[in-house]
Every structure is written in C-alpha cells, then in structure tokens.
C-alpha cells in the first residue's frame, strides 16, 4: 500500500505551503525580537515550548486518528466516540504539560534574572491561557484535516502532522502576541 512516489507527490505541495508560512512567521518573530528581548525575555524562552507542545500534541492526536481511520475503528463523523475520547485525552495531556513547563520556565527565568516584574501566577496563567487556546485550535484542525484528507483518499499520515505543526508554530506566536500585546 505504500509507494515512495506517492509519498513524495503527496508531500511536496503541502510542505511548500508549510515552508512559506514558517518563513513568514520567522520573519515576524525577528521583527518583534528586540521588543520581546527587552521587555519580556521570559516569553522569548517560552515561544519554542508553546509552539512545540502544541505541535507535538497535535501530531499524537493526528497519528491516532490516522491509524483509527486506516483500521476502521474511527468513522468520519463529528459524533465518533473514539475521536471524542482521543481529543479530550490529548487536550488534558496538553494542559498538564503546559502547566508543568510554565513553572519550569519561570524557575529558569528566576535563576537567570529574566523574570523582571512578572509574577509566577501571572506568567503561569498567561502561558496556560495561550496554551489552552492553541491546543483547542490544534485539536479542531487535527480532526478536520484527518477527516477531509481520508475522505479525499489522501493518507492522513502525510497531511495531519505537517499541518498541525505549522499551525502550532504560527498561531502559537500570533496568540502570544495577542496576549502580551507587543
């Protein structure tokens, strides 16, 4: 069932779109880097973590959905029970991970004198709010792309992971900017 040519043909257009978005987001980050560095250095450390966890959670969810669709245990329906349970578990895992890492980052910041006047409580609540918004979005995108690609006869394994990691990277940064207003 696997053909290397099909993997390449499925992959190339999507990877190019993802590349374009990633480059644009990278430029945006470069533009705002100075402001972040001088005002909120703690959030600069947080960016790869917020983006990474969002993408990772989405790719776990996507891999499960893709396997479920291939095997036939998950049906293309928004009422699918297994899909619901997998989504809820992924979101819960995401929230726990974000909570744990936000405290870790704050401690690293404290140790390096980067916390400035941000309190632990406000950092953790901001970090968690961004995280919850992001994983909510990633979950929806993950389910929708898995269902649509499978329905169209494209292997969801080829599609969901690139799409959700790109969404994680781009919207992670956009939501962060929205929250801290730089």
């Amino acid at each position: 069932m696997y053909q290397w040519k099909r993997i390449v043909i499925n992959g190339i257009p999507l990877l190019f779109v993802c590349l374009l978005i990633e480059v644009l987001v990278g430029q945006l980050l470069l533009l705002k880097e100075e402001a972040l560095l001088s005002q909120l250095p703690l959030f600069l450390i947080a960016i790869p973590v917020i983006n990474g966890v969002g993408g990772n959670m989405g790719s776990i969810l996507g891999a499960h959905l893709a396997s479920g669709l291939h095997v036939g245990s998950v049906k293309i329906s928004l009422k699918d029970q297994i899909m619901h349970e997998t989504v809820i578990t992924s979101i819960l895992m995401g929230i726990i991970t974000y909570a744990f890492l936000s405290i870790g980052i704050y401690l690293i910041g404290l140790f390096n004198g980067l916390t400035m006047n941000v309190t632990l409580f406000s950092f953790v609540t901001t970090f968690l709010s961004i995280g919850i918004l992001l994983i909510g979005l990633v979950s929806v995108v993950s389910v929708v792309t898995a269902f649509i690609s499978f329905k169209k006869g494209i292997d969801p394994d080829d599609v969901v992971a690139p799409v959700v990691t790109t969404i994680g990277d781009s919207f992670g940064i956009l939501i962060l900017f929205l929250f801290i207003g730089v």
Binding site: M1, Y2, Q3, W4, K5, R6, I7, V8, G11, I12, L15, F16, C18, L19, E22, V23, V25, G26, I45, P48, V49, G52, V53, G55, N56, M57, S59, I60, G62, A63, H64, A66, S67, G68, H70, V71, I82, E85, T86, T89, S90, L92, M93, G94, I96, T97, F100, L101, G104, I105, I108, D155, D157, D158, V160, A161, P162, T165, T166, D169
Partner: protein, 185 residues
C-alpha cells in the same frame, strides 16, 4: 484502556520534549557567530527545521498506521512497506532542501540586497538536508524498533520524539555543514 495507555506513554514524553525545546533554543543561541558570517543562513533555519520535523513526523505517523494495519511489527520490520517509506522520506528531504536553498538565496537577494554565494548556500542546505535526513531516518527506525519491542503504541511516541530529536539533529547538521562548506569554498 487506550486512553490510559496514551497518557502513560505520551505525557512523560511530552514534558521531556518540552524541556528539550528549551535547550534547542540555547543551541541556536550558541551558533550566532556563524550566522553573522553567512547572511543567508539565518533565513533558512526555521524553514529547514520545520520541514525536517514535518517529513519525519509524517514518516513516523505512517509507520504507526502500518503497525495498526499489521503491515509491520518487531519480527517483520525490513519489508517493502518500510523500504517505500524510507525512500519516500529521503527523496522528499533532498527535493525540499534544494528548494529551501534556492528560496534562501532569492530572499536574501530581494530583501537584504545581499548577494550570497549560491554554491555555498545551496551546498550547506543540501548537505545538511541529506545528512539530517539519513540520521533521522535511522533514528526513526531505531525508535520504532524499540517501541515495538516494548509493546508501546507508536502513535503515542513517534510525533513528539521525532520532532524534538529532529530539531536538535537538524540544527547540528546545519552547523556542521556550514563549517565544512567554509573549508571547501
């Protein structure tokens, strides 16, 4: 049952990968010198890292489905399903790396009015793409083998593990390739 397994296998890994993410940032920080010497290089970093991650997580995700479909397992690893997947991922790596090198060349020319050595930039990105592609394909097979042996569900492991290992490997490969190309050119 599946959910309990998912939390047990994925949650520690998600946290560990988050910690990995904090360190990846600091590796990038220590490479600042070489970016100053080679203007086009910084532009390609986010793209090449993201694409590397995308190619290998998709690869891992396909192997997860192949496992659930019964096409591959610990006793039956080196079969056509795996070979097609490996070949597909490697070809994607090469094609996409070449494209990134060209995009970097054009963007530095258009946006920064700086002419970088095309041969150098393309060479660095291609070398890094091929090297990290080969390394990550081997890591993927290694991880999949361990996951099968331990009876874990690959879907819980491959995404985060490959994304994190991918980031670190790719960054080191870009760094090493740039150093090698500096010696050659």
């Amino acid at each position: 049952m599946i959910l309990k397994q998912m939390v047990k296998q994925s949650l520690p890994l998600l946290i560990l990968c988050g910690i990995g993410g904090i360190f990846t940032g600091s590796i990038l920080g220590s490479m600042v010198d070489i970016f100053h010497r080679i203007p086009g290089l910084l532009v390609v970093i986010p793209g090449i890292i993201a694409l590397r991650g995308n190619i290998s997580t998709a690869f891992g995700s396909r192997l997860g489905s192949a496992y659930h479909l019964g096409l591959i397992n610990a006793d039956n690893m080196w079969n056509d399903a795996l070979k097609q997947n490996v070949l597909g991922s490697l070809v994607l790596s090469i094609v996409v790396s070449a494209a990134i090198g060209l995009i970097a060349y054009v963007t530095t020319f258009v946006f920064f009015q700086q002419q970088v050595n095309l041969f150098f930039l393309l060479g660095t990105v291609l070398l890094a793409g091929v090297a990290s592609g080969l390394l990550l394909t081997s890591f993927t097979i290694g991880i999949i083998y361990l996951v099968f042996k331990r009876g874990y569900d690959p879907d819980n492991i491959t995404g985060p593990a490959l994304a994190t290992i991918g980031d670190i490997t790719t960054m080191l490969c870009i760094f090493a390739s740039a150093l090698i190309m500096e010696v050659i050119v």
